[in-house]
Amino acid sequence: MTALLEMRNITKTFPGVKALDNVTLSVREGEIHAICGENGAGKSTLMKVLSGVYPHGSYDGQIIYDGQPASFAGIRDSEDRGIIIIHQELALVPLLTIAENIFLGNERATRGVIDWPVTFQQTETLLAKVGLRETPGTRVDSLGVGKQQLVEIAKALSKNVRLLILDEPTAALSESDSQALLDLLLELKGQGVTSIIISHKLNEVRRVADSVTVIRDGATISSIDARGGDLTEDRIVRDMVGRDMASRYPERDRRAGDVVFELRNWNVWHPEHADRQVIRDLSMSVRAGEVVGIAGLMGAGRTELAMSIFGRSYGRNISGQALMHGKPVDVSTVDRAIKARMAYVTEDRKTLGLILEETIRRNTVLANFEAVATRGVIEENRETEVAERYRKALRIRTPSVFQKVMNLSGGNQQKVVLAKWLFTDPDLLILDEPTRGIDVGAKYEIYNIINELSAAGKAVIMISSEMPELLGMCDRIHVMNEGRFVGELSAAEASQQAIMSLIVRE
């Protein structure tokens, strides 16, 4: 069989970061090709290069599609050639019907007037193809995620797809929906559709993939032909994680004190889908001076766990008990959680952590105005002194604390968020992806800050998708999957293989 797609030596650079470094990918006509890699390995970037989201010219390297060099200027170009990408977050309009969604932007119409009979007829044919038993007039928001996924595929088929790309297609699906989707992929393969699936679930990869490409740190690590029989989960896991982690993490005295924080039988349900349990009967504890990691893939429920603890900022029907220093505490609102001496450094600093339009000074005192005010009136001198103190302590690089935080680099913004929480003098810090999107040097500084905090007797929970970071920083690591802890590893027994195995073998 010949190659339908060849991506040769693709290199894509963002300011300061090489996201893809000489990546090579070869997909044969009529196969299902799996791409595996950790979060942030560069899988999505590669697919964006392929589909023209990053247009020709914004990357180096060559794409050969269907025997000819391709230079897509945008998604439309790649779609015209039959390359359709289905993203992890579905791109359907919930209030429109299935038929309207399938032909959105591609309407069956004459001179601008939609031909409804033809639209419905073709929709029915497509729905039959993907095995979805719904009428074309059904509104998309009344469908479950699994069925919506099928609508997306039907939409792809309506555009005469030759190469179908699915980004984590089963991440949000139940077991039976996942099976149905994988069966459909195999069926489409029988009809000559080539697919690329990006997936973390290695059992699924093994079931449907004809070949696998593993990407790590923006580079192709291996291309494995499944038909040769040398595809094992161990092999993939090894390729996904094997990297050196020498001296990227500062040394720390590991001395655990008394238990600071304890969580007992914590249960959380999804805020909109009342029947979906997001966190299942979790219990954990953190000691003073301890850094406890939570590992898991996206969607495992890590952020949801943190936010549900911190003032019930996520979920509903939350049950369970939170204790600080052995006493139950009320964490039902954020200000009560702060009073209980908890702090939560959010995953997404720009939308959840900072007021971008405001100055460093104002963001620093945001969670603890009272400490710089007398009877409700802010004393600006005290406020400035506080901001200056944290600027120096955390080495925030800025001309002055009167700069707007939007002008800072990611690493310095993250330090401002940390400053905000340190100023509330917490005993427990929950750090959610504390180094996401910041450069290596800044990461090292953040690690140093974390170590200083634990040395000062704070209890730290660290959520991260970067396993080396957890391994380098934590005393213990809980491995989380589908709302549960599926294992706990001490610093000594933890390795990337061990973590990955716990996740993928679930």
């Binding site: 911190f310 954020v334 409700g376 001309p399 009167f402 905000k420 509330t424």
Partner: protein
């Protein structure tokens, strides 16, 4: 890393470009006043007309103070015109028809305004209904209720004690008469205060190394403000002195500047408007704060209603009609951001004056209400366009 942010020297030109919005607003007001002064043949700045300018626009300025907080908090209030009319009607019924003492009736009116604002704020803050819809409903409800309260008639006149709320003048403590010694003294003292606080802030900023405006600009800006203030008080002194309503406006403005810039609650409103999620995750009770901005708005709308009724000396079913548009326009001309999180009290007040001077000047010129609306609309569009244009250029 981001050292590039350091201001490239503090040349006057660079500083003005960076703060083009604030200076632009001040110069726009001056330009508009100069324009109308010329085309009205000097009528605009006659003592009697300056007094009128304050009387005519007082209720807009009072409401702009509350509207600024509502808009900074990320909401809008379309009902303020109707609420203002309704409260005026309520006051007329209580004072004129029922012979209630003015003070008690006034207090009831202010509380009623807060309750009205509270009810609307409750739906916006705790039920997350868009403020546009809640207050659109409020606009219709209170328009209807004032019609019902007045039974379609005008009610008046008010006793003189009530009228003095708006049309009264502060007696000249120095007993000079004409020119009014108190007015002159107040003018001189406020100039002194403004320059003194400006200098103090400057000294403090220099101590903390904030790049500040060049001396020349500082002097020019304060010079313009001082001259304008002295000029206005001088003119007022040659008419009947300081109107009561001017005093309440100034006091309210100072209070709200203080609240927005120096108090926890004020700064939290900016935080909520700037990023509600981040504010909430920082322990700020965002719902309560939103609720309070509406209670405050209701209070000021009620106060405006009293001032307005006192000035007309009657409550009419048409009072407050379309006033919300002038108030909202004033706030946006003053540089507030539609998305919330940014905007200044002083900007809103200057914006209100710009609208007021245009209304007044065009009326003196005898321009029809039709053209007046067109011109005001274009000025609003131009002001906001100017904002957006500058933002795009920055980015």
């Amino acid at each position: 890393m981001e050292q590039t942010d350091r201001a490239p020297g503090t040349s006057i030109g660079a500083y003005i470009t960076k703060h083009i919005r604030e200076y632009g607003l001040l110069f726009a007001l001056i330009a508009i006043m100069a324009f109308f002064q010329v085309v009205t043949g000097g009528v605009l700045l006659k003592p009697v007309n300056i007094t009128n300018l304050f009387l005519q626009n007082s209720y807009i300025i009072i409401m702009a103070l509350g509207m600024l907080l509502v808009i900074v908090g990320g909401n809008i209030d379309l009902s303020v015109g109707s609420v203002m009319g309704f409260i005026g009607a309520l006051a007329a019924v209580m004072i004129v028809s029922w012979d209630m003492p003015v003070l008690i009736a006034g207090a009831i009116c202010l509380v009623a305004g807060m309750v009205i604002g509270g009810v609307q704020g409750y739906f916006v803050a705790y039920w997350k209904i868009p403020s546009f819809i809640v207050t659109l409903a409020g606009m219709l409800v209170f328009r209807g209720l004032s019609l019902w309260l007045l039974a379609g008639q005008s009610i008046g006149p008010f006793p003189s004690s009530f009228q003095s709320l708006s049309t009264g003048f502060i007696p000249d403590l120095f007993g000079v008469g004409r020119p009014n010694g108190l007015a002159l003294a107040v003018g001189a003292v406020s100039v002194g205060l403004i320059v003194w606080t400006g200098l103090r802030a400057r000294a403090r900023n220099t101590r903390y190394g904030i790049e500040d405006e060049p001396w020349a600009l500082f002097l020019l800006r304060n010079g313009i403000v001082a001259v304008a203030l002295l000029f206005v008080t001088w003119k007022l002194a040659w008419f009947r002195g300081l109107p009561n309503v001017l005093l309440s406006m100034v006091v309210l403005t100072v209070i709200y500047v203080f609240i927005t810039e120096r108090t926890i609650i004020g700064r939290r409103v900016y935080a909520v408007g700037g990023n509600a999620k981040a504010a909430k995750l920082s322990g700020i009770r965002t719902e309560r704060l939103t609720f309070l901005t509406f209670v405050n708005m209701g209070f000021l709308a009620a106060l405006a209603g009293l001032v307005f009724a006192a000035r007309l000396n009657t409550a009419t079913p048409k009072a407050g009609f379309a006033v919300e548009l002038d108030v909202i326009a004033a706030v946006f001309i003053g540089g507030a951001s539609m998305a919330g999180g940014a905007g200044k009290i002083v900007g809103a007040v200057v914006g209100a004056f710009i609208m007021g001077v245009m209304n007044n000047g065009m009326s003196i010129m005898g321009i029809g209400i039709d053209y007046q609306q067109v011109i005001k609309g274009l000025v609003l569009l131009a002001a906001v366009f100017f904002d957006v244009y500058n933002k795009n250029k920055e980015a």
